[in-house]
């Protein structure tokens, strides 16, 4: 009798432990939902009132940013982010795509074992180190070549070049697996029809990996738009409408970091609102990325 009850107790305890831990794991899984919720709530709650006070249109489309006079227009920064990101894509995407094709279809095995970790290393280098490299190498370089045009070293061009380097590993990392995932029969079929190796790769395999390639580019856009420290270090950070490729610019990310240290009151809230705008941009880009990836998987 006694033995029976203790046995029953043990089974019950085990069942409770089993249920309890299942609950703990479930709670852990809910943390990421909670975090996204909290981020949205805190950013919007702190940023939207400022936007309303300034006027949404005046805030988004205003061309003057003068916190001293209580004028907060972030249009120059939006344009700055767009220009710098566009420049980075223009320079970085072709090189990244071709490198991904090289890694997937042209690279000898021995070399691949060396190149793959090298590209991964490129992804792991901290952005301050990239920024520093920009300061000591790219800024003087751009200053020299743009001298006849009365250009500056800290400019849209410099930031674009640096960002182009930084998005290389991001794009390669998504596109190379996408290329490898294309069934071997596409390539072999093209070869059997008499196409050369290059022609088979570029006309049969690459189009088949289309949405994977697009996903890589979209991820690159997100990275370039969200990059902060490296851009601040080379972009010049003048809060005014861009005046040329070789002139300075300020991005949305830069605006936040540069002025947050001493901002107060409405100025501070306007900076948080800048973060909200950046966050909205990134959310749209992310949704596009996951939609593309899902189409790729289907």
């Amino acid at each position: 009798m006694e033995k029976n009850t203790s046995q029953a107790l043990r089974t019950r305890l085990l069942a409770i432990r089993e249920k309890g831990m299942a609950l703990v794991f479930l709670l852990a899984a809910l943390v990421s939902i909670l975090c996204v919720g909290l981020i949205c709530v805190f950013l919007f709650a702190n940023g939207i009132p400022a936007m309303r006070e300034i006027g949404v249109l005046d805030f988004l489309l205003g061309r003057t940013w003068k916190p001293g006079n209580d004028i907060y227009g972030i249009f120059p920064m939006i344009i700055g982010s767009v220009y710098v990101t566009g420049g980075a894509l223009l320079l970085g995407v072709p090189i990244a795509l071709l490198t991904a094709v090289y890694l997937a279809y042209f690279c000898p095995d021995g070399l691949y074992r060396l190149l793959k970790p090298a590209v991964e290393l490129l992804a792991g280098i901290p952005s301050v180190v990239y920024g520093f490299f920009g300061i000591v190498v790219l800024v003087p370089f751009v200053r020299t070549i743009s001298e006849p045009l009365d250009g500056k070293g800290n400019s849209i061009a410099t930031a674009s070049i640096l960002l182009a380097i930084m998005i290389l590993p991001t794009i390669i990392g998504v596109v190379e697996p996408a290329l490898r995932a294309v069934p071997r029969s596409y390539y072999e079929g093209a070869l059997a029809l008499g196409a050369t190796h290059e022609r088979s790769v570029y006309t049969a395999v690459v189009p088949a990996a289309g949405s994977g390639i697009l996903a890589g580019i979209v991820l690159g856009v997100g990275r370039a738009m969200g990059e902060t420290m490296a851009v601040i270090m080379v972009a010049g950070n003048q809060a005014r409408m861009p005046k040329g490729v070789f002139q300075g610019i300020r991005t949305l990310t830069g605006n936040i970091v540069i002025e947050m240290g001493y901002a107060a009151g409405l100025h501070r809230e306007a900076l948080i609102a800048t973060g909200v705008v950046l966050f909205a941009f990134i959310l749209i880009i992310n949704l596009a990325f996951s939609a593309l990836k899902r189409r790729d998987a289907a």
């Binding site: 085990l14 089993e18 831990m21 299942a22 794991f25 479930l26 709670l27 852990a28 899984a29 809910l30 943390v31 990421s32 939902i33 975090c35 996204v36 981020i39 805190f42 950013l43 090189i95 990244a96 795509l97 071709l98 490198t99 090289y102 042209f106 690279c107 190149l115 970790p117 090298a118 490129l122 792991g124 280098i125 901290p126 952005s127 301050v128 180190v129 920024g131 520093f132 490299f133 190498v137 380097i165 050369t196 190796h197 290059e198 022609r199 997100g222 990059e227 902060t228 270090m233 990310t253 936040i256 970091v257 947050m260 240290g261 948080i272 973060g275 966050f279 990134i282 992310n286 996951s290």
Partner: protein
């Protein structure tokens, strides 16, 4: 290797293909040269600047010592991992071992995790400042920095852990169930140990992100050049380097800091790929 003669013949017959091949090779070379140049430039200019004064125990504006920043980076890494790894691993266990197939909750968790992994670090910094710094009154402290970074590396930990758990063969689970073990025991004693190398490589990548992070920490853990406790503001190595480089007065010291950061990242990457290699080898065996 194709011989030069054959290449020449092919190129004459298919000039366009030869051109495309050339461009592809050049692009790859370009990527490699950029990486090589960057690493070599910083190492060559930085190593001569590594002076013992840079490693003295207290920071003064004269010696620009990076030792306090290095120690703070270690504290920050440990704290963030302590917060992120249990949650991340627990969440992945739920997603792979417990959740019913096709559950809406799992889809939502996946979506939010993907969203988290795309948020730029400055937005994390703003959020950390607003929630941990202001709302929870932690101010500029290592703890608010670590909490912010923990959220930032959570998606990374979850993704790698999930991959590792999924790659454990179902045989293991069936064998364990067959011997009468419950789900909890199967997960903790059979599946999880088999997935440890994969989880570790994710953790190491997380360490890499923590070490390199700047924007998320400037307004959460602050920029005080002192060895910091849990509730004190303390600078980490990347922020320290940003300060040096942007002030423009300490270029030599910034070179040295860059070397230390680069060496750390190199080590972290080697370790991670060594572990990843071990997993694939284990799977083949």
């Amino acid at each position: 290797m194709r011989s030069w003669k054959r290449w020449h013949r092919d190129a004459r017959r298919h000039p366009l293909s030869a051109l495309v091949s050339l461009i592809t090779h050049l692009a790859a070379l370009c990527t490699v040269l950029i990486l090589g140049f960057l690493v070599a430039y910083i190492l060559i200019n930085g190593i001569p600047n590594l002076k013992p004064a840079l490693f003295s125990l207290t920071y003064t504006s004269e010696n620009q010592s990076m030792l306090p920043a290095i120690l703070n980076t270690c504290t920050m890494t440990l704290l963030s991992l302590l917060l992120a790894v249990p949650v991340g691993v627990g969440a992945s266990i739920y997603l792979t071992e417990y959740a019913p197939r096709g559950s809406r909750l799992v889809a939502l968790v996946r979506l939010t995790t993907e969203t988290l992994s795309g948020i730029p670090s400055i937005v994390y910094g703003l959020f950390g400042m607003l929630l941990f710094g202001n709302a929870l009154h932690l101010g500029y402290s290592m703890l608010s920095g670590a909490l912010t970074l923990a959220i930032m590396i959570l998606p990374l930990i979850m993704r790698t852990t999930e991959e590792a758990l999924c790659s454990v063969p179902d045989m293991y689970r069936e064998g364990s169930f067959g011997l009468g073990a419950g789900r909890l025991r199967t997960t903790l004693c059979v599946v999880l140990p088999a997935a440890v190398p994969g989880i570790l490589s994710g953790v190491i990548l997380g360490v890499g992100r923590i070490v390199g992070e700047t924007a998320a920490l400037m307004y959460t853990s602050g920029t005080v050049e002192k060895v910091a406790g849990l509730m004190d503001s303390g600078i980490t190595l990347s922020v320290h380097m940003y300060r040096q480089a942007s002030e423009g007065l300490y270029t030599e010291q910034a070179y040295a800091t860059a070397v230390v950061l680069l060496a750390l990242v190199l080590m972290i990457n080697l370790l991670a790929s060594r572990l990843a290699g071990k997993i694939t080898k284990g799977r083949q065996a």
